[in-house]
Amino acid sequence: MRHTISVLVENKPGVLARIAGLFSARGYNITSLAVSETLDPTVSYMTMVVEAEDEKILEQIKKQLNKLIDVITVTDFTKKEHIDRELVLIKVNYSTKEKTKLESILNKYVAKIIQHKGDVMIIEAVDEQEKVKQLLQDLGRFGIKELIRTGRIAMAY
């Protein structure tokens, strides 16, 4: 099962390597990872989606993260009321014939056309995971040429 965890860390060189190293050394899987600065420049915020077969592994992941000296806090969103978002850039095949069809699909999501050049078009979408998944399904018939995702970020109330 996938879980969203956020980790507040010291904004120091090598911290990302510590986290990545921990996951590889202990055989945990990261599905996505988003890292950025916060309002406090000495602190970075990491949101990660991790794959854990059971509660025991999830607990271990959190405990092992907490054990790192440079980790300040670990938050598990699994049982917390929160919102999460992901930004995706999608490159699809484009033909003028299908423009209206495409636009009507995009209207159902928080998505828009950023640019089109020749026979390709780049779409930007920002939404929660399930919606992004549906959007990708809907766009499938236009032929997705390329897909780039930022990974999930989350915020609790």
């Binding site: 060189p13 090598g14 025991k56 405990k63 907490n66 790192l68 000296i69 980790v71 300040i72």
Partner: protein, 554 residues
């Protein structure tokens, strides 16, 4: 002050009296400071020896051990010792030189990414990029190494950081926002634990290395006597409870005593104190202790419920928590029937070996025990020698058994003995070695002689890498693939270094050789020619339940 001066000043303020290490190009400024310093510097013959010596020093004294090496190969040679300290939660600070800050990443001469290499085998590590940070980092390093669940911390210092001249400011306080170990047990959990203990008819205490780290041996003894529960120890826990005590069951696990393994399998309550349910202890996990509720006391939350599911977890320092528990426990069950059962197992299935007139390794260790009256510090290498040392010497005091538990590092015992002797010069320090292991760090003989560090080494010489040979005998149809090993003439070798070499080839020569070794003021190698194919029993085959022992009870 220069960075190098600041480093030495900080080490002194941290109470460092001894360091082990080896010089090199990018640590020259530090060595120049050491030249006039009162810190005693022990020049080893290989950096691995320095790391193990710092480790042995830390285990014997409870203080932080310090080792120092140059960049690149010097630093990478420390890594086995650092990993060893990490697995056994031993506080050491390893200081390494690094190439100049502007050369880092340039593949400079003797450059290695040492913070990168040691990240997974240190509790924390630092690359000092500016001399201004040095004092704070040294202070943090000692604090992190010695508090919470202790462990090794590495400080990598580029040579230009050592040379730069700045004003020295000693940070009085250490404040690390991401590091706040818990020291006292949660009162609610203590109550729950006391309740479980009150209703247990077959309790057992399973004590690990944290007893020694936290100095909880007195509280452990009080608890065992108060609730009348037998005590079994992990390899790391030996000495945490007197092996001579009537409630002691000795070590449990793969080469534990039959009665310890049976007791834990039959128990209705396991009080695990600062032990981590490692695979060498539990054997087959799904068959482990089927009737027991488990109370698990550990300072590291990630140790709890990692391998076995625990009923009452208590995070905190063992000494504090045992103290809290002793206050909370008002009534206990009558455990006399249980103790009688365990006592009967002890009588019926003691540790044993066949005495056939040849030199048996078990006999050698018994004789070392008797001639030192259990008061020596024993270090071990890894393999059969280590397991026999666990089984046949009774450890009465904490910090008298020093052995590579988690990592299983051959070559550990001799340099560790050196470190232990530096920390406890008044004690007899005996390394129990095999003829394979001793050859892994034998170069430290020169260190012992030149610094007059008089340790005694008992080589249980069977001409084999004995433990691997034992597995080949039992599980690989006696196909002794590359486990026959030769060595030098250990007596001549000792002599060539200026140590005393002794040899025993007959049983009656064993005790006199030990007495002779103890009587001389020198490092001594004793080459005991033991029965070549003697095995360590009892033994739980890998992956079996721990009561299914070869040479144990049916």
């Amino acid at each position: 002050m220069t960075g190098a001066e600041i480093l030495i000043e900080c080490l002194k303020r941290e109470g460092v009296e001894v360091m082990f290490g080896y010089p090199g190009g990018v640590v020259l400024p530090i060595f120049d400071e050491l030249y006039d310093s009162d810190i005693k510097f022990i020049l080893v013959r290989h950096e691995q020896g320095a790391a193990h010596a710092a480790d042995g020093y830390a285990r014997a004294t409870g203080k932080v051990g310090v080792c120092l090496a140059t960049s690149g190969p010097g630093a990478t040679n420390l890594t086995t010792g650092i990993a060893n300290a990490y697995m056994d939660s031993i506080p050491i600070v390893a200081i390494t030189g690094q190439v100049k800050t502007f050369l880092i990443g340039n593949d400079a001469f003797q450059e290695a990414d040492v913070t990168g290499v040691t990240r997974p085998i240190t509790k924390h590590n630092y690359l000092v990029k500016d001399t201004v940070d040095l004092a704070r980092i040294v202070r943090e390093a000692f604090y992190i190494a010695s508090t919470g669940r202790p462990g090794p911390v590495l400080i990598d210092i580029p040579v230009d950081v050592q040379q730069k001249d700045i004003e020295f400011i000693w940070p009085e306080e250490v404040k690390i926002r991401g590091y706040n170990p818990t020291y006292f047990g949660h009162p609610g959990q203590i109550k729950k634990a006391a309740k479980l203990i009150a209703s247990a008819k077959k309790p057992i205490i399973y004590a690990g290395g944290g007893i020694i780290t936290s100095g909880a041996h007195q509280e452990l003894r009080e608890l065992a006597e108060k609730i009348q529960a037998p005590v079994t120890m992990t390899l790391m826990g030996l000495g945490g409870f007197p092996g001579t005590h009537e409630l002691s069951l000795g070590m449990l696990g793969m080469h534990g005593t039959a009665y310890a393994n049976h007791a834990i399998m039959e128990a209705d309550l396991i009080i695990a104190v600062a032990a981590r349910f490692d695979d060498r202890v539990t054997g087959r996990l799904d068959a482990f202790a089927p009737y027991a509720k488990i109370i698990h006391i550990d300072i590291d939350p990630s140790s709890i419920s990692k391998n076995v599911k625990v009923d009452v977890p208590i995070v905190g320092d063992a000494k504090n928590i045992l103290g809290q528990l002793l206050e909370e426990i008002k009534k206990t069950c009558d455990t006399s029937d249980w103790l009688k059962t365990v006592e009967a197992w002890k009588k019926k299935h003691p540790l044993t070996y066949k005495d056939d007139g040849k030199i048996k390794p078990q006999y050698v260790i018994e004789q070392i025990y008797e001639s030192t009256r259990g008061e020596a510090i024993i270090t071990t290498e890894v393999g059969q020698n280590q397991m026999w040392a666990c089984q046949w010497y009774k450890y009465i005091h904490p910090r008298t058994f020093i052995s590579s538990g988690g990592l299983g590092t051959m070559g550990f015992g001799f340099p560790a003995a050196m470190g232990a002797k530096m920390g406890c010069p008044e004690k007899i320090v005996f390394d129990i070695a095999g003829d394979g292991s001793i050859q892994m760090n034998i170069q430290e003989l020169a260190t012992c002689i030149s610094n007059k560090i008089n340790v005694k080494v008992a080589i249980l010489n069977n001409g084999y890498l004995g433990m691997v040979r034992q597995w080949q005998e039992l599980f690989y149809k006696k196909r002794y693939s590359y486990t026959r090993i030769t060595g030098p003439d250990f007596v001549k070798l000792a002599d060539s270094y200026g140590a005393l070499g002794l040899r025993a080839t007959k049983k009656e020569e064993v005790r006199p050789a030990i007495e002779k070794a103890l009587s001389v003021d020198n490092t001594v190698f004793i080459d005991f020619h033991i029965e070549p194919e003697e095995n360590v029993f009892p033994m739980v085959p890998a992956g079996e339940a721990i009561n299914r022992m070869i040479g144990g009870m049916a």
